[in-house]
């Protein structure tokens, strides 16, 4: 089994089989419908345009929050990892914001900024920045002092240094934070949407959960997951392969 595509396909089929078995064991389509039972509702939502509309709304929020959170988080993480002094000052804040419940931040954002898009994105970003910072900070602490000395002696400008010395070393940390980051962001977006937006996958999922319609909840959840799988294969993995080439070549 060496063709990666085949492996991925078989693996996904296995997951589907697991679901079929679980559905059969549960034997209650209201608790866990079989995959086949979702095709009809999925098609209906797709052709009505509902699914695409809500999916795109959620994606826009996820992308905004992701870009903002990664940029801020990486910058803060590098700064705090490199300067023990700065770290000592900011660390208590980091712990507090890291552990502030999503609900609290989201509600405060909605109340301060208003029940609008800006508030939603700010809330998600604020929720996620501390996570990115925490992971990247560890990476920045583990930077190679030898390369650092080299960059210093050869008087590299800071942009060169960032691009060619720091970021490549942080790549595994950033990749980890990014991948688990999108997931966390999308989960927070779900909460943000059901607490105060009128569109998006989270809004729909919550509505269908209220109706106890597990099937539709799954239709929406899995649609997003499908998008994530595509992003994983089309963007993340090729990028990672390129960035990691020097290790394996």
């Amino acid at each position: 089994m060496t063709d990666p595509r085949a492996v991925t396909a078989i693996s996904l089929v296995g997951l589907l089989a697991l679901w079929v078995v679980a559905a059969a064991l549960t034997a209650d389509p209201q608790i866990l419908p079989a995959p086949g039972a979702l095709l009809g509702p999925f098609w209906a939502e797709l052709t009505s345009g509902e699914l695409l509309y809500h999916l795109s709304q959620t994606l826009i929020r996820v992308i905004w929050a992701f870009v903002l959170a990664m940029a801020l988080g990486v910058a803060l993480g590098i700064a705090m990892g490199r300067s023990e002094r700065l770290n000592r000052w900011l660390d208590p804040w980091l712990v507090v914001f890291l552990n502030l419940p999503a609900l609290v931040l989201i509600v405060l954002c909605y109340l301060w900024i208003g029940l609008n898009e800006t508030a939603a994105i700010v809330a998600v970003t604020l929720n996620k920045v501390p996570n990115v910072t925490t992971v990247v900070r560890e990476g920045a602490r583990a930077l190679d002092p030898g390369l650092d000395a080299m960059a210093r002696v050869y008087r590299m400008p800071w942009t060169t240094r960032l691009m060619h010395v720091t970021l490549p070393q942080l790549a595994p940390f950033i990749a980890g934070a990014a991948r688990s980051g999108i997931a966390v962001i999308w989960k927070i977006v779900l909460v943000v949407e059901f607490l105060g937006r009128s569109s998006g996958v989270g809004f729909k999922i919550h509505m269908f959960f209220q109706l106890f319609d597990v099937g539709m909840v799954l239709v929406y959840a899995l649609s997003f997951i499908a998008v994530m799988l595509v992003i994983e294969w089309a963007i993340l993995q090729p990028w990672e392969r390129r960035v990691r080439r020097w290790r394996t070549a």
């Binding site: 909605y110 105060g196 009128s198 209220q210 109706l211």
Partner: protein, 301 residues
């Protein structure tokens, strides 16, 4: 001491607790031949998961929801608890006199796009004023506390919320623009339809014959106590979260006004109501319950 036990999963802050507390505190459960055990949860969804997961025997929901579940194959049975009481409120300084005046404004709705009050008001607007409320206004669906707060702050031009928040919003100066009860009447619906109720599994009820009636009796007796005996309210006050006497009185009056009359359920008006809901909310709201499912309502009187 072999009384059947009813485990009730309720929202810890739900108003249904007032009734259930009264039942337990006054021993009405044992008097009517069962034992009531209240399990508090923090979210409506949680109470439903509890019943479905077999961790509780009873929870509270509106009957359209119960009908939908029953039509989808669940053996849920409905016992009335409270009538619909809702309204659309506008901020203190608002000049709106009818729903049409909200055109171009922002309406906050706590229960989501399938909120019954919202649906009734939409039907009312289109029938009375030929005005498409959904198209002419911007809706903001949000958590009840956020709608409460945004309503008071004037960020919204109109707000529909769950009734205990409505009471507080009114106490905070907001004005009732349209009452859902009026709207229902205008639509030819029976305003006495008990929209909210308890639901239990049929399999559970059949293990204990007559339990539905026994519980209904206890519930009715508690309602009577609360209606006739102000002292009972004083006992409840600590759990009512009323910060002022005015709020306390408003909650009390509204609650009593929401208690439905004793008696069997009028299937005809229920069916009429379901048809209206089906027209408005469609399958998304009622699921497969396009007609009243058999055995939905417990046989209580």
């Amino acid at each position: 001491q072999d009384l059947p036990v009813i485990r009730a999963a309720v929202l810890q802050i739900g108003t249904v607790n007032w009734e259930l507390s009264t039942i337990v505190d006054n021993g009405l459960d044992e008097k009517h031949g069962f034992e009531l055990e209240v399990q508090p949860y923090a979210d409506n969804g949680a109470t439903r998961v509890a019943v479905e997961g077999g961790e509780a025997d009873m929870a509270v929901a509106d009957w359209i929801w119960v009908a939908r579940q029953r039509a989808a194959g669940k053996d849920y049975v409905y016992i009335p608890y409270s009538k619909a009481v809702g309204a659309l409120l506008v901020p203190e300084g608002s000049e709106a006199q009818s729903l049409q005046d909200l055109a171009g404004g922002k309406v906050g709705i706590a229960g989501g796009p399938l909120d019954k009050s919202w649906l009734i008001l939409r039907a009312y607007a289109s029938r009375e004023h030929e005005f498409d409320l959904a198209a002419e206004t911007e809706q903001v669906f949000g958590a009840p506390p956020l709608i409460f707060k945004s309503g008071l702050s004037g960020e919204l031009d109109g707000a529909i919320n769950f009734w205990h928040f409505l009471a507080k919003m009114k106490a905070g100066g907001m004005r009732e623009l349209v009452n859902v009860e009026e709207a229902a009447v205008a639509l030819g619906l029976d305003p006495d339809t008990p929209l909210l109720g308890y639901y239990m599994k049929e399999s559970f009820l059949s293990e204990h014959e007559g339990l539905a009636q026994q519980f209904y009796d206890a519930s009715q007796e508690a309602k009577a106590l609360l209606r006739d005996n102000p002292d009972e309210w004083d006992k409840l006050r600590p759990q009512m979260n009323a910060s002022t006497d005015a709020e306390f009185e408003a909650l009390k009056t509204d609650w009593i006004a929401g208690a439905p009359e004793r008696g069997p359920i009028d299937l005809e008006s229920m069916d009429a109501f379901l048809q209206v809901m089906n027209d408005l909310g469609g399958q998304e709201l009622v699921g497969q319950a396009t007609t009243l499912p058999d055995g939905l309502f417990a046989d209580v009187e």
